[in-house]
């Protein structure tokens, strides 16, 4: 599989290593691949404005939104 190189600011790399993957078995690369996959999956499942409005109406009827 072809791969590309992406430059990551060092402070972000350190933060990810420190906060997220320090205690897990994931590599930095795998962690970022997982994040992107997740984001793509969410985009694929995205919904229309009309559907979101319906949910808002129902949340209003539950008393959660004004």
């Amino acid at each position: 599989m072809n791969q590309i190189t992406i430059n990551l600011p060092q402070e972000i790399e350190e933060k990810i290593k420190d906060k997220i993957i320090k205690n897990s078995s994931l590599s930095l690369e795998q962690y970022i691949i997982n994040l992107i996959k997740k984001d793509l999956a969410e985009k694929k499942d995205s919904y229309s404005e009309n559907e979101e409005e319906k949910v808002k109406d129902r949340l209003k009827s539950l008393g959660y939104l004004d």
Binding site: K19, I20, I21, K22, N23, S24, L26, Y31, N34, E42, D45, Y47, E51, E52, V55, R58, L59, S61, L62, G63, Y64, L65
Partner: protein, 385 residues
């Protein structure tokens, strides 16, 4: 041939109804001494330490019905039903429907429970009386049984939701500190609301007796989340944080012959569907997403199960860092320890639940490095599954 027919007939006769009665927002620590709940507790096995995947109804009910955490099923937020992976999940209702059950029930709102598999699902009109409808659904269950059909029935008792919205969420909006300063008043108010649930139970018990449903049904009373009584600033009800006052729920299993006992070992609400299927000897469907939950039937049978780890998430409608479309508070919990991670403002809390069940003393960064390491690792596994 005749024997085969007799076996088939017997298997149909012995199929029990499954009746779920959801007591929305009920905290067991506040409700356990109420008359009709005590009466019910003397009929079965009470799981008093059941942890919800998420402390509000939409996410919690989807976790119950799918046996999946919301980051697997897609329903991980107030807006989560828009992302429900209905083709990849198989709900409890669908399993039972496939086994010949007639599936009916009600829910307080279109968003709250997955509709898949229901033959009839009544949506309550907002803030209206529903007890007559519940009686009607119990009568319908008995009628279906007379036709030889087992029934899966779901009843949603939403009194408390309605009361909390009208009596707490709306009037205390923007007044979280005031709410936090009056815990006794909050408790008294909540107890008043619970009395209505007590009266509801009285009526439901009578209706179950009238229809002779105790004998031929597995009946489970449960709650989907708890409620704040002002324990922490920033939350007047539920949904903003992952503290035990809103994560702790219960399930009371009543099924002829089940031991009358209380089980305090931690279980999770994602375990409910796998447990019910296990009780009914129904196998899970390998073509669908595998359950995050596991059966705890062995605890009812007085056998041991391995201690479990409970994962929870939420993103508040209100509170200090609202996030209604995506969870931003995550927790991981064993019987002893709980780690909470706040994506915003990016910090942790660690609690020793055995020594500090009210989660008052944050032990994070206090030298418990091995515990922190283990709990962070467990949490990372769940978040980045």
């Amino acid at each position: 041939m005749l024997n085969k027919f007799k076996n088939w007939l017997n298997s149909r006769k012995s199929k029990k109804n499954v009746i779920l009665i959801a007591l929305d927002g009920v905290r067991l620590d506040q409700f356990r001494e109420f008359t009709y709940f005590k009466q019910l507790s003397s009929k079965g096995t009470l799981f008093s330490n059941m942890i919800t995947y998420s402390p509000h109804s939409i996410t919690s009910f989807h976790a119950i019905f799918t046996g999946l955490y919301g980051n697997h099923s897609g329903v991980n937020s107030y807006f989560g039903t828009l992302n429900f992976k209905k083709e990849e999940c198989k709900t409890l209702t669908q399993y039972l429907k496939e086994k010949g059950y007639y599936c009916l029930g009600d829910s307080m709102n279109e968003l709250v429970i997955p509709k898949q598999g229901f033959d009839k699902l009544v949506i309550q009109e907002e803030f209206t009386e529903f007890i007559d409808n519940h009686k009607q659904l119990l009568n319908e269950t008995a009628d279906k049984n007379k036709e030889g059909k087992p029934v899966f029935l779901h009843l949603h008792c939403s009194y408390l939701h309605n009361k909390v919205v009208q009596g707490i969420i709306k009037p205390f909006k923007g007044k979280e500190i005031e709410y936090h300063q009056k815990p006794l008043e909050n408790e008294k108010r909540y107890q008043t609301y619970l009395e209505e649930i007590n009266q509801y139970l009285q009526k439901i018990i009578l209706e179950i007796e009238k229809n002779k449903l105790w004998e031929n049904s597995l009946i489970i009373f449960f709650s989907d989340h708890g409620n704040s009584l002002g324990e922490k600033i920033g939350e007047v009800a539920y949904g903003n944080f992952c503290y035990d006052y809103s994560l702790k729920t219960f399930a009371l299993f009543i099924n002829g012959g089940y031991p009358v006992t209380e089980i305090k070992q931690m279980v999770r609400n994602v375990d409910l569907t796998p447990t019910i299927l296990d009780i009914l000897s129904i196998n899970s469907d390998s073509s669908k997403l595998p359950f995050n939950g596991e059966s705890f039937q062995n605890l009812i049978l007085n056998k041991k199960i391995e201690p479990r780890v409970a994962f929870s998430q939420t993103g508040g409608m209100t509170g200090p860092y609202p996030s209604p479309k995506s969870p931003n508070v995550h927790s991981i919990r064993t019987d002893k320890w709980k780690l909470i991670y706040y994506q915003v403002p990016d910090n942790f809390e660690l609690f020793d639940l055995e020594e500090d069940p009210l989660e008052k003393k944050n032990l994070f960064d206090q030298g418990l490095m091995q515990v922190e390491k283990k709990m962070r690792s467990l949490l990372a596994e769940q978040i980045e599954h």
